[in-house]
Amino acid sequence: MKSNVVGLIYTGDRIEDLRDLIRIRSVAALPMLGRYRLIDFLLSNMIHSGVQNVGIIMQGNYHSLMDHIGSGREWDLHGKRSGLTILPPHTSTVRGGVYEGMLDALYANLNFLRRSTERYILVTDSYLLYRVQYDDVCKQHIESKADITLLYTKDRTVRRNGWGRYLDINGDNIVQSMEFDPIIPHYPNTYMGAFLIRREMLIDLLDRAVAAGMHHFTRELLVQMLQERLYKICGYECPGDIWSIDSIQAYYQANMAFLDTRVRTQLFNDKQPIWTKLRDEMPARYTDTAKVVNSLVADGCVIEGTVENSILFRSVVVKPGAVIRNCIVMQDALINRDAEIDGCILDKQTTVREGTRMIAPREYPVVVGKNLTI
């Protein structure tokens, strides 16, 4: 069935606390859970909600994201009537180049908004990992006759002192006000950076906001709209687990949470698979010296050593005598004989030399950057 929602993913968030992990990639391209990137979960939310037309606003180091998305084929987003539109920065247009905020990005891509034919648009940030049916959001949006519907969660694990956006929502589900980066959040509802709005209305709002000199959608436009009280702004509470990937610790904890089978089965199910770029690796090979417990292991790995409480991405090689505990090891990493690593995040194509020992406290995982040898 034809969807009445077009999706738009904004990947321009720079979250400084992710440090080395985003030096070479956007947050949306962060490798997650052994074979995915963060954006895969958003794209899967879209396609499993029937959204067939998706734009991705690129910013900063978007090479790895482009490389990952390709033609959108893996997500069945390579059609003629709809599909995926990559929206790289325009350097020559008004508000092009480096966006100061999401509002700039939306305005620079007005053509995408105008050209789409769907009645509604779902705009989202890209640093959250969660599962939701956007068609349910749209249903509530229409039933409640809202002008804008904001997605929020009551999950306390995504609250941060001094960071984030928190909503005051009354009993009628109307958003009363918003706190922006409060030192201590007062409202119990965390805004998830995703909203649904009538497409024509968004175009109109953008036009006026830009004329008023605004750059930021939430901090400037949305806050002003909440104060003016001319629009009906509703909340939609997202059920289920949610992870905010806003620091190295949060990244580490989100990945590790999926060693819990309950968490895993909630996100992954046969009916709504999470699609991702394929590498056509062979199944993982365990030799007779392998010892693996409580770990997620992707295809292409060759395991001759010990792996505990860890996540191994595709084609990681663990030599005999090597011990990996409480680690996230990204693709093509090589852990040589008798090395011991604990509490580390190894980026892609890292090498751990024979006999190297590196042990970090789990509260402060150590990141080893892409291509490095330790």
Partner: protein, 390 residues
């Protein structure tokens, strides 16, 4: 108008593969799962694209549904291209006539129109029941160099097994002088691999002549190759001594899976230069639980291992529950092994569910098989060599 292709591949996938017993009761042999995440047909298809051949006709007839769905648009093998691609070719009606494929040669004959669209110089004929990595481009180069009418890939098999194969007797220049199908007293140990290159015009004329012969069984081995030899055509043997395994029987299918666990592995699927492509179902990485154990095995996406797995090949989404033991076995996609069950020297087919405490297979003897979508009640016993299921 189609662009001319130097070579078009025709993949014979119409046979039932009845020697695979219960495993091919509901699917055609080329669609049988292999090696954790592959199906048998992934090997010839991947060999084709890796050899630069991008037109492949797949001749199907027996239970084609799953095979058709698996091939789909051909995208997993990069065969969804404008100028070629993979085409599933079932038998069809032409108005006046229409019939099932009567033999391997007849199936190609009925699809000569398909090949003619590409005006090829050569046709590569493949079968859908072998596991091997082969550069067909080298074989075609050999064919061109010898200016042959047909080139047949051969490999040296142990003398004691030679009488199970079609044997090519060659002269000192590697020209084939005689072909014997399963000879009692073989004169050579050069066995045909079922991989042929024909010059297209020669193939057309021999297939057309063969159709005129009501006595013919329309088979490449029995009719076409002997007819070409009798007529004195230039027939060369192309020797291929890398890994090649016929997986036409339960025993050989199990063997070929176990070959992937050898060290060094006789057929390396990690080879980046010669990828074997497969359709992906989008499962998460596999999980080995606290208390689970895996040694000497191949495990792929979607598997969950709470029990113990030794020297086995587990396919996509296979589950081994707490206390279950899997040894020397092959679990096909979606197979589920209940708590405390013991699986030994067995093949558990797609989506089979083994109840708690079942015992399937034995330490010695033939391979036990549980068919696809079969459920075993708790405590059932399947003896060595036994096949259970619909």
């Amino acid at each position: 108008m189609y662009r001319k292709k130097s070579c078009v591949a025709m993949l014979l996938a119409g046979g039932q593969g009845s020697r695979l017993g219960i495993l091919t009761r509901h699917v055609a042999k080329p669609a049988v799962p292999f090696g954790g995440k592959y199906r048998i047909i992934d090997f010839p298809l991947s060999n084709c694209v890796n050899s630069g051949i991008d037109v492949v006709g797949v001749l199907t007839q027996y239970r084609p549904l799953e095979l058709n769905a698996y091939i789909g648009s051909g995208a997993p093998w990069d065969l969804d291209v404008n100028s070629g691609g993979v085409y599933v070719l079932p038998p069809y009606h032409t108005g006046k006539t229409g019939e099932w494929y009567r033999g391997t040669a007849n199936s190609i004959y009925q699809n000569l129109e398909f090949a003619k669209q590409y005006n090829p110089d050569y046709v590569l004929v493949l079968s859908g029941d072998h596991i091997y990595k082969m550069d067909y481009a080298e074989m075609i180069a050999h064919h061109v160099k010898h200016n042959a009418a047909a080139t047949i890939a051969v490999r040296q098999v142990p003398w004691e097994e030679a009488s199970r194969f079609g044997i090519m007797n060659t002269d000192e220049n590697n020209n084939i002088i005689e072909f014997e199908e399963k000879p009692a007293n073989p004169k050579s140990n050069n066995a045909s691999m079922g991989v042929y290159v024909f010059s297209f015009d020669k193939l057309c004329s021999y297939l057309e002549a063969d159709e005129q012969d009501p006595e013919s069984s329309n088979d490449f081995g029995k009719n076409i190759i002997p007819a070409m030899l009798n007529a004195g055509e230039c027939m060369t043997a192309y020797t291929f001594n890398d890994y090649w395994k016929d997986v036409g029987t339960i025993e050989s299918l199990w063997d070929a899976n176990m070959d992937l666990l050898k060290d060094p592995v006789p057929v390396d699927l990690r080879d980046r230069e010669w990828r074997i492509y497969a359709r992906n179902v989008g499962s998460p990485p596999h999980y080995v639980a606290e208390g689970g154990s895996v040694i000497d095995s191949l495990i792929t996406e979607g598997c969950q291992i709470m029990g113990s797995v030794t020297h086995s090949v587990l396919s996509t989404n296979a589950i081994v529950e707490e206390g279950a033991v899997v040894i020397d076995s092959v679990l096909m996609p979606g197979a589920r092994i209940g708590k405390g069950a013991v699986i030994r020297r067995a093949i558990v087919a797609e989506n089979a569910v083994i109840g708690e405490g079942c015992v399937v297979g034995e330490e010695e003897g033939d391979i036990a098989v549980v068919g696809s979508n079969t459920s075993l009640k708790a405590g059932e016993f399947v003896a060595a060599g036994q096949q259970v299921g619909e």
